[in-house]
Amino acid sequence: MSTVLILGDFSGDKATKTTAELATAGARIGAVTAVVLAPAGKGAALAATVNQGPIQSVIVLESDDFASHGVAASADALANLVKEKSPAAVLIASHAFGKEVAARVSILTDSGIITDAIDVAADLTATQSVFGGSTTVKSKVSHGTPVITVRPNSVEADFSASTPAIENGAATVGADAKKAKVSSSQPPVKGGRPELTEANIVVSGGRGTDGNFTAVETFADSLGAAVGASRAATDAGWYPHSHQVGQTGKTVSPALYVACGISGAIQHRAGMQTSKTIVVVNKDPEAPIFDIADFGVVGDLFNVLPKATEGVLAKKG
């Protein structure tokens, strides 16, 4: 059976659920080997957290170049492994880092690339949702080793426990990939809420919150949801930029997206239109966001959300 390489996705020192999603998609194509890029001495601990999803083996590449030279170093090491293993495909998480690593791997290995797949089939056909979700496209790489980035939260993951065989490989990083020097790195500040791109439910607030996110956060917490924001809200400094949803923020596709006090500009929609169910609270009945809503309440979010929070809590008993 052919091998599929997936690039292990980590948050802090733990594999994310995206890693299991990549494995699930990869297992349709071949035997999954997860690649763990780790700082020197940290490989075994990181690899031990790659324990969910249909993963046959883990290859650990250790090097301090990953932290000190960023994307280019990671891509070099992965590309060299791809050349050595000739896998059937390489699957990587579709976020800024993952897409840039994929971009470089495709150039270094002379391979075609598809980004932002929401699904990958056994025959390597990738499904993408393009033009703000208005068109579904199926495409296939026709040259080299298909390099495909998969959007977090899109593939229904098999989370069954796995105990992959762990082996160590050599991280090979060329001189060109060391030209950029990272002098400091700060991980994102993590709150107690779920990660935006991985959350099953996202509740977002916009200019309509007028800077007060309490109602939005309280409702989100009643649902166990992540909190998002429009650019109007992040620009005003009401909510951190890392929570911005949209074209220049994050792309989310949760089971439920609740937009509160958000008008629905095209740039906002670009980041949330593939959500399975969309609920809107907005006091302007003409707001364009209602066009894509499955359920909309025309009303003041400061009245509607507290009542809804009460209702959810009551249902949960």
């Binding site: 960023g70 994307v71 280019a72 891509a75 976020h95 800024a96 897409k99 840039e100 971009a103 495709s106 150039i107 270094l108 075609g112 690339i113 393009v130 208005s134 068109t135 579904t136 496209v137 199926k138 495409s139 790489v141 026709s142 040259h143 030209k179 950029a180 020097k181 400091s184 700060q186 991980p187 439910i201 649902l223 930029h241 074209q247 220049t248 994050k250 089971a255 439920l256 095209i266 169910t277 969309i278 609920v279 009945p285 894509i292 499955d294 359920f295 909309g296 309440v297 025309v298 009303g299 009245n303 509607v304 959300l305 009542k307 809804a308 929070t309 009460e310 209702g311 959810v312 249902k315």
Partner: protein
């Protein structure tokens, strides 16, 4: 300093986009300068202005580079009217339907031949939405990659440093020239072209080249679209007016959908 800015002409964000024969129909929509590339043009101008400007005959220049159809000259005029010195447009019938791999090959060759110190890109083209071209150019040229910059500081003697902001956090990164940058939209507020700028742009040079002149062989895309289906329109949703019971109606909807 010689700075190149990669700019793309894209269909207007608001236009309805359609697929024709597996590629985006670019003929029948209004086209504009990719708005995320305006930040790249602005940043290039701010960099040269902080070090003596880009007046004719001066030490610094900003050159726009684009690959696209003939009419991409309209988008280039916009960048020129903001203040860039000149532009290069690679236009060739065989480039229609190019993927990012081919695009980056063309852009990288033009950049390599131009003797630039820095290349600045947007983070994403609003039509392709791949965010891969800057990294590909860097990989092809073997130049340092400094992407997703929310802040750029340049020492004209040959050093550049950025603050990179992504979902993975905030990094401080630096490199010697030459380097490939991309800038996020938080970095600056692009200027509106002044009347003087618009008039001056009419006289600026847009050098148009075909593939042979660039010296790159035509290459078909390495990925193909086999199927494109318009997503079924969302069934018209339910809309209720809040008369004090909007919150509970919302909860009932969520319960019906088994979302709680």
């Amino acid at each position: 300093m010689k700075i190149a800015v990669c700019v793309k002409q894209v269909p207007d964000s608001w236009a309805e986009k359609k697929m024709v024969n597996g590629t985006l129909d670019r003929e029948n929509v209004d086209a504009v300068l990719n708005d995320l590339d305006e930040y790249a043009v602005e940043e290039a101008l701010r960099i040269v202005e902080a070090h003596g400007g880009n007046e004719e005959g001066g030490p610094h220049t900003v050159t726009l580079i684009s690959m696209g159809p003939d009419r991409a000259t309209e988008a280039l005029r916009k960048g020129l009217s903001m203040g860039a010195n000149d532009a290069i447009l690679v236009s060739d019938a065989s480039l229609a339907g190019s993927d990012a791999i081919a695009t980056s090959a063309v852009l990288a060759k033009v950049i390599a031949d131009g003797g630039f110190d820095l290349v600045i890109c947007g983070t994403e083209s609003t039509d392709a939405r791949m965010s891969v071209v800057p990294a590909m150019i860097s990989a092809r040229l073997g130049w340092a990659q400094l992407t997703f910059a929310s802040k750029v500081a340049v020492d004209p003697a040959g050093k550049v440093s950025i603050t990179r902001v992504t979902e993975a956090g905030v990094d401080e990164i630096s490199a010697d020239f030459p380097a490939v940058l991309s800038v996020v939209e938080k970095i600056n507020e692009p200027r509106y072209p002044s009347f003087k700028g618009i008039m001056a742009a009419k006289k600026k040079t847009i050098e148009q080249k075909d593939l042979a002149a660039v010296g790159v062989a035509a290459q078909s895309a390495w990925s193909q679209v086999n199927e494109a289906t318009p997503r079924p329109a969302r069934a018209a949703g339910v809309k209720v007016n809040d008369e004090g019971d909007g919150g509970s109606a919302l909860v009932t909807f969520l319960a019906e959908k088994k979302l709680i």
